[in-house]
């Protein structure tokens, strides 16, 4: 059999951790899909059904670009919304396009039974060592948590740098250095080093800070290209950006009971996928007196659409402005800019009136 070259769709900065998991844990080569670009989306859209949510299109674009870069084995995850059915259709479309690749569809694994995952992975590497993968898994989890931690810091401070671009440069260097990690200890060491470096970056914060929280659908909120780098745009205006949604909070430290308690005045039942986290953070940030909230999702995302009537009530009850963005393959850059500017002007005016 030819050497396995595995790939998974691009998703924030997690490809660094995934590369580690696959190379160190599974002992296979990992092909990182090139960063998502307009071409990625165009490729994906061309072969996807018209009105499917845009993460499906991005993922397909990533797959094709990964194949172009030599990948021969693709992994797709399972999920509780449409995501759970992505894999089978992606596999079919790629097959119809004439690509000969192996496709690992994690929706065939049962989340209640971890062993089924092991079985799926065994298909990738039959000589899988449980010991090796579990030690790599620990480092992988640490890496994910560290990437999130560094991102949080940058998000909340990057708007106030004295010298523009310093933090971004450091963050890039950090991610690059993470690639040299051999184990969990390395991850800790490198993360500690860069945390200090980031803290040493000169920032100048005004007395009255403007705080804006970002909520929304899993993919769109975490993959900056798909939300037109909305966090960066906002930060540039001197806003502290908060984002709860990341893999650490939604998977590693997930606390459904707490969420349910916080939102009980608005929501009785689980409303599907990320909608609970969306409502949960909206309530918390509204109570904390944030200046505004931005809701992002891909066009047609049902769970997030269903969260919107709830958000409207929260906005009403706490008098907090919420801006809604829905992204698809045809979203215009200027439209987003204009709406962001108007939102910014509005929260500035409100701030002054207070």
């Amino acid at each position: 059999m030819e050497n396995c070259k595995i790939s998974f769709p691009r998703f924030g900065n997690y490809h660094i951790a995934l590369e580690f998991l696959f190379t160190k844990g599974l002992g296979v080569e990992y092909v990182t899909p090139p960063p998502s670009t307009k071409r990625t989306l165009e490729l994906g859209s061309k072969y996807s059904p018209d009105y499917v949510c845009s993460p499906f299109k991005y993922n397909l674009g990533n797959f094709i670009e990964a194949i172009e870069n030599g990948a021969n084995t693709l992994v797709q995850t399972g999920g509780v919304c449409r995501l759970g059915y992505y894999g089978e259709l992606h596999e079919q479309i790629l097959k119809d396009l004439g690509y000969h690749v192996k496709f690992i569809n994690m929706s065939k694994a049962d989340y209640q039974k971890p062993l089924t995952f092991y079985n799926e992975f065994k298909k990738i590497n039959p000589n899988l060592s449980l010991k090796r993968i579990s030690s790599a898994l620990l480092a992988f989890l640490k890496m994910v948590a560290s990437i999130d931690e560094i991102e949080d810091f940058v998000r909340q401070n990057v708007g106030f740098e004295v010298h523009n671009g310093e933090m971004e440069k450091l963050q890039d260097a950090y991610l690059e250095e993470l690639k040299t990690c051999e184990n969990k200890k390395d991850v800790d060491k490198i993360t500690k080093k860069y945390k200090k470096k980031l803290k040493d970056v000169k920032v100048k914060k005004p007395k009255k800070l403007i705080r804006v929280g970002i909520i929304g659908e899993y993919y769109t909120i975490m993959e900056p290209f798909s939300n037109h780098f909305i966090e960066k745009e906002l930060a540039k205006k001197g806003i502290v950006i908060y984002r709860w949604m990341n893999v650490t909070n939604s998977v590693l430290k997930y606390d459904g009971k707490k969420q349910k308690k916080v939102i009980k005045n608005y929501v009785k039942y689980y409303m599907g996928a990320t909608s609970m986290a969306t409502v949960y953070k909206a309530v918390e940030w509204a109570k904390e007196g944030f200046d505004g909230i931005i809701h992002v999702k891909s066009f047609g995302c049902t769970p997030e659409i269903d969260a919107m009537p709830v958000l409207q009530k929260i906005s009403n009850d706490y008098k907090i402005p919420i801006l809604y963005f829905s992204f698809d393959s045809q979203t215009s850059e200027t439209g987003i800019q204009t709406r962001l500017e108007a939102f910014y002007d509005m929260i500035m005016m409100r701030k002054e009136q207070k």
Binding site: S48, C81, R82, Y85, L89, I93, N105, K268, Y269, F299
Partner: protein
Amino acid sequence: MKIGIPRAFLYYKYHYLWESFFEELGIEYVVSPYTNREIYKQGTTYAIDEACLSSKIYLGHVAYLLPKCDYILVPRVFGYGEDGTVCTKFQAIYDVVNNTFRDQKIKILYYNINPKETANEFRAFLKMGKFLGKKKAAITRAYLIAKQNQKVNQMMDIRKQEQLLESNQLKILLVGHQYNVYDRFIGDPIIQTLKSLGVCPIIADLCDKKKAREASHEISETLPWAFNKELVGAIALYQSQVDGIILMSSFPCGPDSLVNEILIRRIKGIPILNLILDGQEGSAGLETRLESFIDIIKLKKEEKDGKL
């Protein structure tokens, strides 16, 4: 006390059950009328723009009922366990309705289907019956009768359709969610147009659901949604007995956006028309598309029969 039942979404799956349950318990209820333009328009004013047409129609029915009854029945379904999951819309609908109509002080009669509980439907109805102030014995009796009624009626509906399969007319399998196919505003114009073209529409929804869910695996292995499994399985069951397939979906249905694509790529040897309805289109466009689809099928059939 008067219960309002929206004639939308799960009504089409459960109306035999609901109606006879309330009748047996002696509880007054009113079902909203067939969807009309007014109800649709009401729905669009209350719904989020991007929400699917079917959910807009649902909210329109709730709005219609609001001033006419004390409680509105809005059941919530988490899923059907091994039979499959549901679109998150059905997980969320209780809270969507509650928030959308909060200012109108809506009162909701609800029950929750959660597969993690055993005998979940009966338990859910027991709870609902108690909320309505009825005794356990009476509720149990009403539920069992209603359940029997539902079973018999659904079987009869399937039988009726089986007879249609014998007909010599051109037969088209209409594949769509119950709440779309049977809706006067969405599905009925398609059924009527087909009939006027001399075609016998076969409704995919009318089939043995258990058999259909099993048969769906022949076409798709990881399909998560129970309702889509039943429809996909119905194709496997009926395909050899019909001349063409129409997939009809409401825009932008999440599950259908993927499932229809799988079907188009995997079902071979039979003409398929993919209709996506958004409530905006006039009837002329729809009729033209259906006519040309039927014309092609007729032509192919005649070629095959050697008449040409």
